[in-house]
Amino acid sequence: MNRLLTWLFGRLPIGWLQLSHSRTRLIAAVAGVAFANLLVFMQLGIMGALNNSTVAPYALIDGDIILSSSEGNTLTDSGNIARAYMFQALGVAGVASGIPLYIGNLPLTLADGSSISLLSFGVDISQTQFVAPVIAPALAGLALENTVLLDKDTRSMPAEALASLATGSSFTFEANGKTLTAVGSMAVGGGFLADGMMVTSDQTFLRFFGSRRSGAPDHILLRVVDGVSSATVVDRLRAELPAGIVKVQTMPEARAADLAFMATERPTGIIFGFGVFMGILVGLVIVYQVLSTDVADHLREYATFKAMGYDQPFFLGIVFEEALILAVFGFIPGLIVSMGLYAGLNVVTGLPVVMDSARAALVFVGTLAACSASGAIATRRLAAADPADLF
């Protein structure tokens, strides 16, 4: 380690030597940084799960443009839009086809008495271009009344149901006092809104959700003519449709808007964002305490180095060296423990809490930045190192 750091810095690694000299302090500091990393990772993990579960339903549907009620917030938290706008949109140049999309939350009581809910999508099964390619071939099987495609990653789903679906058999269950038969499956998983998902024909959907009307879907999905830009068609639709009633977005725009809404306007997004901030703050305070104490403990040595002719950049280098070492040493255990907790949380809740390299890199860079910021604050104490006091 000494040789590596000497080679890296082109001088004795004073910061590392100081830190490693006080093992107890080093362990406490690394544990502190790791804990702060853990806090941030957990908040980001849950926030990521929230984001993932927010956009997960988009994995089931397909289309170029989505028309929604301007009062709606997200794909699953939408108002109703008049189906008449679909017909109006079909008359706009560049629009090739469209379907109404119905979304509802179907409560389901399991055999053991527990309840789960399924986020249900009702689609026109004759137009497979509006669902994800992986489920498009199975749509034909939904022509029969009361048949559904069931999410095999649904939380608390009975093992026998999953076994039936895995072998290609059907599985029958009761919901809303009616019998449904799962004739196929897909894998999406539960989220914050529901325990799993279900796709059915619009006819079956309307039968199960008695209060819903075919003329008032949740969204309208549109396909544009091959070779025509979605953005161009969006502009035309916005000019054609009443802006105060209909929101016109491309699918990527809708997905991004959903994420932004959850992050900035939903209390959950704000709470988790605040949690990340608190984690960073804890890390800053811990590293500052360690570094400032270390500077205070070595003032006499620093004053000696000043007398010898070492300049301010040298001392800043020592403090930043310590900050970077703490950042790296704290990040590694923080990452490992976080991955373990992610896996545990995933098993217990079924939430899509997963560690990805982008998040790990983001937290690592954030840790480096936070530790450097703490180091920068701690360097103020260096001014107290006066070589004249040595005599």
């Binding site: 004073i14 030597l17 000696t304 180095f305």
Partner: protein, 230 residues
């Protein structure tokens, strides 16, 4: 030794405190220290000898009068200029001030690396050679906590001398050493003066080494009361 005097003080006054608590510590000091000499500053506690040492060693701001060190006026010098000057000096402190996290060899290396990274192998050899001269060849990899008081002081001497400074400022460098070790150190300083022209200014009360001094200056209440060439 000839050549320009490395240290010249003229009309030097120095004060501590502010307002009514302001107290003058040095009174109209005029000194010229010749190159290659070993000068001892003596005097009772509070006589101002340490203040003079820190003023000449550019560790304290010159308030009134003039101090020229190695041809550079210290009054009004920028921090960058002072840093460059300090790199041409060697300091030996009474309380050795070794870095507790560094081994003896690493502490000595710090005296070299202030001039830049340089050739690491050569630097290590120079540090080892200097420690060997001071009888610490077998203690190079020891941390200060595992060295005796005398050994620590010798490491501090090695750190000060390893970069061949032009002027050495020492504060009671032999206080923690036995007579033999103390003479080895002061003999070394004396030899450096004779062979390389290194100038040494030393505060000491150690009567065992007075015979090695080229000049003994006695201060009392901030004034020179005696200046002899034994």
């Amino acid at each position: 030794m000839g050549g320009a005097a490395p240290i010249v003080a003229q009309g030097l006054n120095h004060y501590f405190g502010l307002g009514e608590a302001r107290k003058q510590a040095i009174w109209d000091l005029n000194l010229t220290i010749k190159r290659g000499t070993l000068t001892i500053l003596m005097g009772p506690s509070g006589s101002g000898k340490t203040t003079v040492l820190t003023l000449m060693g550019c560790l304290r701001d010159v308030q009134e009068g003039r101090v020229d060190l190695l041809g550079h006026p210290l009054r009004g010098a920028t921090e960058a200029e002072l840093v460059q000057l300090r790199r041409r000096l060697g300091f030996i402190f009474q309380a050795h001030n070794l870095h507790e996290s560094l081994t003896a060899a690493q502490n000595v290396l710090m005296g070299l690396q202030v001039h830049g990274a340089g050739d690491a192998v050569k630097q290590r050899h120079a540090a080892a050679h200097m420690l060997g001269l001071l009888g610490l060849a077998d203690r190079m990899d020891y941390l200060p906590a595992n060295l005796s008081g005398g050994q620590k002081q010798r490491v501090a001497v090695a750190r000060a001398l390893v970069s061949n400074p032009e002027v050495i400022f020492a504060d009671e460098p032999t206080a923690a050493l036995d007579k033999e070790s103390g003479r080895v150190v002061v003999d070394m300083l004396k030899t450096l003066g004779q062979t390389r022209g290194t100038t040494t200014v030393m505060v000491t009360h150690d009567n065992r080494i007075m015979d090695l001094a080229d000049r003994i200056i006695t201060l009392e209440e901030g004034r020179v009361v005696k200046d002899t060439n034994p």
